[in-house]
Amino acid sequence: MRILGLSAFYHDSAAALVEDGVVTAAAQEERFTRRKHDSGFPIHAIEYCLEAAGTDLGGIDHVVFYDKPFLKFERLLETYLAFAPRGFASFRVAMPVWLREKLFQKDLLGKKLVALAPDFDVKGQLLFAEHHLSHAASAFFPSPFEEAVVLTMDGVGEWTTTSVAIGRGKDLEVVKEIHFPHSLGLLYSAITYYTGFRVNSGEYKVMGLAPYGEPKYARTLLDNVIDLKPDGSFRLDQAYFEYCTGLRMTSRKFHDLFGRPPRRPDRDPLEPFHMDMAASVQAVTEEAMLRLARALAAEYGIPNLCLAGGVALNCVGNGRVLRDGAFENLWIQPAAGDAGGALGAALAAAHLHLETPRRVTPGKDAMRGSYLGPAFGQTDIEARLTAAGARFRVLDETATIDATARALADGKAVGWMQGRMEFGPRALGGRSILGDPRSPTMQKTLNLKVKYRESFRPFAPSVRREDVAEWFELDADSPYMLLVAGVRAERRREMTPEEEALFGIDKLNVPRSDIPAVTHVDYSARIQTVRADTHPRYHALLTRFKELTGCPVLVNTSFNVRGEPIVCTPEDAFRCFMGTELDMLVAGDCLLLKEDQDPALGRDYKSAFALD
């Protein structure tokens, strides 16, 4: 039984394939079209999934869409009605989009699918899963648990913004929901907007900015804006927001409360006030997550918790939930955002609708390390690189790993393209840029010469699973870079008061530990643990690097520049390599040095992508 899950038309379109209850392929459309957060019909991702299964759409039993458009339209109408006539400005922008396109999504999907397979039966084969059920299914079914509490939190789906479900075996039942407009995700997005970042993509920048500030306004938020109950449920005072009625997130009353208007990203500088706002919303979000987790642990007495939804990408909050210990075990869907909804929709159809049995391997999840995207064989990589004009050497596997580890130990920035592409927002050693975390200049080099991104943003470490506890205050799996924990005390270096007063790259550049390139200003790190059985080649590289340097940690950041989707093909990797100051590219067993390449193939890469 083959089921294809789709997410599309809002943000992060994706397709995922589930065969007999097992996830076999998944990819985001943006990786193929090279448009960040592409929301179009995911035709390329679908074609990839079908190719990976060696079939066409005729070989697919069901296609499942990840949310229910009519329910969303119902919410929209009822919201406009509740706020009328205040929402007219929003109404006149939203209605044409809905009346032209979104209301007819089933027809649209049907037509696209029939174009792919003329005998596709839209009525019988096309299914729809609710948005939060899709998230919950993506969090529970691939998890290593037979039984778990499943908590999903995001901006909004149809009506639901937060849901609790109980998963047992192949069953999953939603037991509680919090509805729009009360939403933790939208609160976070509102502060993202208020601090001058882009809604739906700048939230992780707010999270990265938070450690620079003090949560001075958390009390103000809790006293006025969000009514947070002891069990973690909450209500937002809508007088402070405009997302129901206008085209802005926050209202004049919100701006009056904090004494200033939203920051204009192109004109106003980032000030300590914005860092304090970021720290405050982060503190409130963490408090809500902690209260929810504690209340659910006490109510259901189940030791396992699964998380999904955009808020579950808040790895700082996830780390606190884990350390708090209300639940013994925590598993987070790596594609926690809407792209993962495609996977969840397919899994929900498999287990809940078609009653496919679920196989659980204790201690091992079913996401295959999230390496679910396209892979390229060695011959294919060589042919593609040659066609692109690249000059390279081909080594055997041991020599490739040795040469890469030596280059890293020499302080080189390396593009690393190996095996299947990751599904979800993080690069996990399949399409990564790697560097030496011990180097005090690596952070600066990567931020300014390779990634071209804001100076305040830190990098994340990959570490061998067997070594994680020696370097970080964590002794658990974090294969998807979704947990934040501190660098161990004996590896830290205290900062002087003068150093504490610095900001941005200046503060980030002060060495704070033995691995300064991956240590944030609060000594935290967003950790990826690497196991030999999930990604043997990346594990072997970490091992060789440890043999050379004594350090089993590498800087791992996504293989792209700011505003660009992560690279997918060898050609994408080569273009990014030539457009940035990366020193080396390792694609399969092909080794490319920058000095060997034809400089004419380089281009102005920095301005090739709209900034996010």
Partner: protein
Amino acid sequence: MSFLGELWDFLKERKKFWLLPIIVMMVLFGGLLVLSQGSAVAPFIYTVF
């Protein structure tokens, strides 16, 4: 036409027949908006829509 049938089924399932006159009014009004403007561009806060 299948669209109208599905919309009817949806209202029946959700027991929200009271939405029907509002939908008719909004569709008429929204239709006017569609006719009176050249292109439909999704607003930037698209989570809400």
